[in-house]
């Protein structure tokens, strides 16, 4: 069956929008994805026909709402290959899930212990571990990257990065800047060999690839709904059930308890232990709708489309004079392509592309250490998803040519050059 990108696009009304005279070219899906009407409709049906709180509401609507929420949990469990629905914890986003992981695992850390991350991580997989290490006296260490944007496994080996002191290794599956696909299973095996736990940031990987937690070798996996055609406000922590059962609570509140006495409380088993307060109910239902949507397309097909689009993007960007692409040229590469354009700051690139309908992200993409490592202050990032077309990638390349010429002064007139001269003279005088 051929991949029908036009049929997919018809499910996303936002693509009918124009930006001035230009059609919308949305190349910021690594930031957040667009939403198909199926997701929005299921959420609106929940709000308009079934809305009630979950678990604590015992009436009919409460039962419907609870059923839909728990059905969403089962959908997520299937989507990632979990052994049990009890392994799926709903959070508000991937950042909260990583904070949950770092906070609860910190209960096992003490001075002399080591936590390992990498220099290519999103800030949300760095800062929570920094905080955990500060609190416990453990040491934070990290994988470096090679010039071509892979984890530097040889250097890690030489330095004995993962060793008997290592308690946690937390890595991104797919880089949100470089697009690098990390060898998670291989590193998980190293971590497990020294008795450490493997935490995986799947924010970029899970929406684009077939996810099987057992194949990844993860003990904990986090991801977010809004990059997977789902709504904002819903994230997931998947955890091995025996590990979740050992972890202390993260936040205290309603539904995470067993019995509360004024002198102390006992806690509910997972996943409820980690879901204090009214959860994001409609968002969980929306996430399940999104997973149904992408599953109907087929995650194999989504992954193949990403590979094809990414190859086309790399080839098109290579044709643009002055572009430097950050990250590897692997065939198996994530769809986020970050680059610099000679002489034009990413903020200005973003602004010029936006004026021509092309939406990209400019900045450090919440990965400042990685940019520092590559000696650039920031970059522009284009990223695709299941609805992206090769024609959109071509529009990006054309808009980049225009942008470079604009800032190179190719379009400035003789008149403005004369004005510039006059201003220089003025600047030379002391006019005050």
């Amino acid at each position: 069956m051929t991949y029908d990108v036009e049929a997919i696009r018809r499910d996303f009304p936002i693509f009918e929008r124009t930006v001035g005279e230009y059609p919308l070219v949305y190349l910021d899906s690594a930031n957040t994805s667009q939403k198909p009407r199926q997701v929005v409709e299921r959420m609106s049906a929940h709000y308009l026909q079934h809305n009630a709180n979950v678990a604590r509401a015992m009436h009919l609507l409460g039962a419907e709402s609870t059923e839909a929420y728990e059905f969403a949990r089962a959908t997520v469990a299937r989507f990632v290959g979990a052994r049990s629905t009890r392994e799926v914890v709903f959070t508000k986003n991937a950042s909260e899930a990583l904070n949950l992981a770092a906070h609860t695992l910190a209960s096992r850390l003490e001075p002399g212990d080591e936590v390992v991350v990498s220099v290519m991580e999103h800030h949300s997989n760095i800062v929570p571990w920094q905080i955990a290490c500060q609190r416990t006296g453990a040491t934070l260490r990290w994988f470096d990257v090679t010039e071509d944007g892979h984890l530097d496994l040889e250097k890690a080996e030489r330095e004995g990065l993962v060793n008997e002191r290592t308690k946690v290794v937390s890595l991104t599956w797919v880089s949100n800047v470089l697009g690098t696909v990390n060898p998670i299973a291989e590193i998980a095996a190293q971590a497990h060999a020294v008795g450490a736990l493997m935490v995986v940031d799947g924010a970029q990987g899970v929406p684009q690839r077939v996810t099987r937690v057992s194949d990844l070798g993860a003990d904990l996996l986090v991801f977010t709904g809004h990059k997977l055609c789902g709504p904002t406000g819903i994230g997931v922590l998947w955890g091995r059930l025996d590990l979740l059962e050992e972890l202390p609570p993260f936040m205290g509140g309603g539904e995470m308890i067993e019995i509360v006495h004024m002198e102390g409380s006992t806690y509910a088993p997972p996943p409820a232990r980690f879901e204090a307060g009214t959860p994001p109910i409609a968002q969980a239902i929306g996430l399940a709708a999104a997973m149904d949507y992408v599953s109907a397309v087929g995650m194999d097909a989504v992954a193949a489309h990403e590979r094809e689009l990414t190859a086309h993007m790399l080839a098109q960007l290579d044709r643009v004079t002055g572009i430097r692409i950050l990250g590897p040229r692997d065939a198996d590469r994530g769809g986020a392509v970050a680059f610099t354009l000679d002489g034009v700051h990413p903020h200005d690139v973003m602004q010029m592309l936006d004026s021509r309908g092309v939406a990209v992200r400019g900045g450090h993409h919440c990965a400042r250490p990685l940019h520092e490592r590559f000696g650039v202050q920031s970059s522009t990032r284009a990223s695709s998803y299941l609805y992206t077309t090769t024609a959109e990638v071509d529009a990006l390349a054309e808009a980049l040519d225009y942008t470079r010429d604009f800032f190179a002064g190719k379009f400035s007139s003789g008149g403005s050059r004369a004005r510039r001269e006059r201003r220089r003279q003025l600047a030379g005088e002391d006019i005050r």
């Binding site: 930006v19 001035g20 005279e21 034009v344 700051h345 990413p346 903020h347 200005d348 602004q351 010029m352 936006d354 004026s355 400019g362 900045g363 450090h364 400042r368 940019h371 202050q377 920031s378 604009f406 800032f407 002064g409 400035s412 403005s416 004005r419 510039r420 201003r423 600047a427 002391d430 005050r432």
Partner: protein
Amino acid sequence: MSQPHLHSMESLYQEIILDHYREKHHSGLREPFEAQVHHVNPSCGDELTLRVLLDGDTVSDISYEGVGCSISQASTSVMSDLVIGRSIEDSMKLYDEFRELMDSRGLAEPDEDRFEDAIAFVGVAQFPARIKCALLAWAAMRDATSQAVAAREETP
């Protein structure tokens, strides 16, 4: 829905701004100085180190080193042109006026005699996401000048 920015790349990136971006005035960190500040724009990563030297009631020098977009770089250049040689009091006043200009959503008609090249930034005020780029240098100047004044009061 109105989308004014789509037709106003020229109003955002006016020649004055691009000129200052390509050829920054007063750039580079100089001695002597009385206060140095480091300001950042966390959302986009723009960074600016800025030094201020006072002479009596006047800002006698501003020197700086920074990385950032054309708007933030040009704004630093224009600000230093305007403030060097100006009284401390009037520099602070000019900061307030520039801030007001940025908050005007592009509707203000700034006085060219007062603002000189800074009038070009009126276009920036139409782009809420870019206002902080234009303000970075001004906020750094204000901070450094206040610190220099405070330090002077501590050691008479």
